[in-house]
Symmetry: C2
Subunit: 536 residues, 2 copies
């Protein structure tokens, strides 16, 4: 067979030719619904111009170029241009604290930062502390004010000077294409390098009917940020398939998202549960009348980042006829390592039992379950342990591996840090993050399962559980509860009596106004743990 490497420029070629007529739509004005709407072919041509411009600024294959941007057309162009030319795109997580951002830029030794005009302030103060950064290129969207930061280059001006045909180099498919730092809750961020090969393989593996199930007729809204694990692969998958790619820019308010879906006839979307909870509440809040918002074109939502609440799936199912499918993955293993399904089972109960699972193991992935003693567990749907992953799209080491990251690997397998089960059909259930699970009397209590059991109480709006040290048991659970109606700890205990094992029932409760959340909408257990001091 021919020696043709699997590279991002191979995907570019498909966007430039076969899928050239597909659209990239970016929301620019959420009030009027104004968008930029351009073809894949134009995006491809502009990414060629960017590659030329970067070359002129001295960027050579292997150099790191950073992006600090929302989900918009220019960010997509940056993906293609930087990776296509063989440089490495470091997608900066704009939710990080500016000090952390600066840390990642210095760790990556980024030579150029391409930044949205609206985000310039996030880095301008830190620039003097970023010695490797030689240029800042500012992307000014239509109608936006140009940055006043001195010494910056203008994205559009750079492109205008360049040819629309870049001779993409033939590069080793194992070389790095992009770099994403995990926003670890402890220690410094860790960099995951994605190779060209892994990006193409992941995109191919996700095209299946039982995976993302996208066709070229879809209009796919990528709500997951382009700086989160390559937006779950959406830019690359879209390049392969030729679905339209719909991008929200910074407009992630539920109202804007809902109206955008309606206006742009979105058929498919991805995103975290909190966002879809907000969309649901917004649509519900509208009177059926002149200001109705329709989600009728939507058929599938790939939902993940954390366990998807069952009631959310049921609401989207019953009210809009939308299949909300769970997916599981992480920066280190790409998203979609498991993907769920909405399929008729022998009974409605079984159907929903499946839907509660994190999904089924996707092509190219191997998973194994390892208990706390290091023993490999059977795939029987019952035996619990840490899920470990292996495969050509799983990271084998961190970028410039920081000390202490060796223990993220176990004899060629990546330790995901998630606790769960796998059954004989490859269905995975995640019961907890390893660091969130509570080890009581030598056994694990799943904080997630316990939280769901408490939240099933009608008077409880939200609940989160963390472990606190206990002399006798090692750890015991402490429950933080947001009550929607008067309820006592005794009432909750009685309620749990029939729902979880006796030894799971927390002895300690704290009633608070709101559960602190991380930037991605997950319960922030780090903050909660810091609050437990008076119980220790």
């Amino acid at each position: 067979m021919m020696e043709v490497p699997l590279t991002v420029s191979m995907l570019w070629e498909r966007m430039h030719t076969v899928n050239g007529a597909s659209r990239v739509v970016t929301l620019r004005d959420p009030e009027s619904g104004g968008t930029s709407d351009v073809s894949f072919r134009d995006v491809a041509a502009r990414s060629s111009q960017l590659a030329h411009a970067l070359g002129r600024l001295g960027i050579v294959p292997g150099d790191r170029v950073a992006s600090l941007a929302w989900n918009n057309q220019q960010h997509f162009e940056t993906y293609l241009g930087v990776m296509g030319m063989g440089a490495v795109l470091h997608t900066m997580n704009l939710r990080l604290h500016p000090d952390q951002l600066a840390w990642t830029v210095n760790h990556a030794e980024d030579r150029i930062i391409i930044v949205d005009a609206s985000l310039v302030d996030l880095i301008s103060a830190a620039l003097p502390r970023l010695p490797t950064v030689e240029h800042v290129i500012v992307v000014t969207g239509p109608g936006e004010e140009r940055s006043t930061l001195a010494g910056t280059l203008d994205y559009e001006e750079l492109l205008a000077a360049e040819s629309m045909n870049f001779p993409w180099p033939s590069i080793d498919e194992r070389s790095a294409a992009s770099l994403c730092y995990t926003s670890g809750t402890t220690g410094d961020p860790k960099g995951v390098l994605y190779s060209h090969r892994s990006i193409v393989l992941h995109a191919l593996a996700m095209t299946g009917v039982d995976q993302y199930a996208l066709s070229r007729h879809d209009r796919a809204l990528a709500l997951v940020p382009l700086f989160h694990a390559m937006a779950w692969g959406m830019p690359f998958i879209s390049a392969v398939i030729g679905n339209d790619l719909i991008l929200p820019g910074p407009h992630l308010k539920a109202e804007h998202v809902a109206r955008f879906i309606d206006r742009e006839r979105v058929t498919w979307s991805s995103g975290v549960p909190t966002l879809w909870t907000d969309v649901l509440h917004f649509v519900t809040s509208l009177e059926r009348g002149s200001d109705n918002v329709e989600l009728s074109t939507l058929r599938m939502i790939l939902c993940g980042g954390t366990t998807v609440p069952e009631h959310l799936m049921r609401e989207f199912d019953a009210r809009f006829g939308v299949s909300m499918i769970q997916g599981w993955g992480m920066t280190e293993i790409f998203p979609g390592a498991t993907v769920g399904a909405d399929e008729p089972g022998p009974s409605e109960d079984e159907r929903w039992s499946r839907r509660r699972a994190a999904g089924r193991i996707s092509p190219l992935y191997q998973l194994r379950v390892v208990d706390s003693g290091g023993k490999i567990q059977p795939h029987d749907g019952v035996s619990v342990g840490e899920i470990q992953a292996r495969g050509p799209v799983v990271t084998g080491a961190y970028f410039r591996a920081p000390r202490g990251t060796e223990d993220k690997f176990d004899a060629g397998w990546l330790r995901t840090g998630d606790i769960g089960t796998v059954d004989s059909g490859g269905w995975v259930r995640i019961t907890d993050r390893a660091k969130d699970a509570i080890k009581s009397g030598g056994e694990w209590i799943s904080s997630q399962d316990l939280e769901n059991a408490i939240m099933a109480h009608p008077a409880v709006r939200e609940a989160s559980v963390v472990g606190i040290p206990d002399e006798r048991w090692g750890e015991r659970p402490l429950a933080y509860v947001v009550a929607g109606a008067p309820v006592s700890d005794k009432e909750i205990q009685a309620f749990l009596g029939t729902r979880v094992a006796k030894w799971w029932i927390p002895d300690l409760y704290e009633f608070i106004d709101a559960i602190p959340r991380t930037s991605t909408g997950k319960f922030d257990k780090k903050v909660l743990r810091a609050m437990t001091g008076r119980h220790s």
Copy 2:
């Protein structure tokens, strides 16, 4: 990312675990509908046993092992066992003349032949002339008589002695997994070596909604022989996806196929048009009554090998609600290099115009159009030329390349020998085989288009056109016509007058009883050309 090679044993692993419960069903008794019905997990375990047995017989990675078999479970096991252990599976084409078969075995230097009991006679006479063959392993299906050929080994006895766990070696993904000889109409057969990498990549590329569109809920009937271009990838694609794989054994008669589809609730199938024409006629011939055969579970047929007649697609569409989708490829580039679609167009005319195309360029493929002067043509849907292919699943050279095969390649591109157009959306129309096209006055006449125009005449049942030498024009078309009702050459000429360019209209006609066909049901132009003698 981890260094995990793309190998057939990776697909085996998926059959052994995640997709273990899927079924392999082989038709054994077409009258009663009796089948062997086993799980993927069992097929995987048995292929481990086969690998052990082959190792015991001295087979080491790189050795060639041949199969001469129908589409049945054991052939699938042979695929997995031979390729998984790093040996190379030479799938012998049982339609070849025994002398040609022997030639391929000697060319490949096969050490072992695994043969169906019913096919032993095809090679027994040639065995003395096959010096490299050390063992013949005979597969006797349930209820079949054991071979009486002396010195053969029994497949089931070999397996029974071995462990069900084979330690698949980690092999270079670029090493050869299988070998398929093209049944060239001229010269010796040419061997195409498929690498492990290309097999896995092709399987992944075909999983998409816009490609094979298979899900794990499908029951896919593979009518294409396992010795034809890896059965269009079906064994590997099924391993990835986990659809049930339904195999007809030697029972390819229309009645058997139709009843098999009905009984086994087949949802998806693949095969050449002649076979489906026969199925259509059979179902039509049945009285609607007690002996009715239903194709109601079938939703999609991937049809290819030659241009699919429009009326066949329309009949399956109208009568059974089955989308018959065209695919295009060849041994050298795998099948599915283009795949069609049945989708609502702006009009019914446009929908059918799309359906007449060979399909749209699939992921991982690049195609270009080169005219007879060697000039690259635009993808405008109009400019005609030879289609050339490039990509990681396209062969770069023939096995032990015979002299004269260098001209099958053009600066890194494979010359497919098919003539056609590509439009800006990647839709490909094949108008002819290069060797069938008639070059008249420096321009190409498409023999296919001309044949279709002649066959549109109500009195013509079949027609085939070949070129004969002409002093003035270089070549002129000669039409062989099978008439269903009385018709003269003048009448056909008049009929063509409004349908094709004037210079396309043949001057010469021969009325014959039947068009000779090749073993795969295509018009046999080699025979027709041999018949043209008296016109030269």
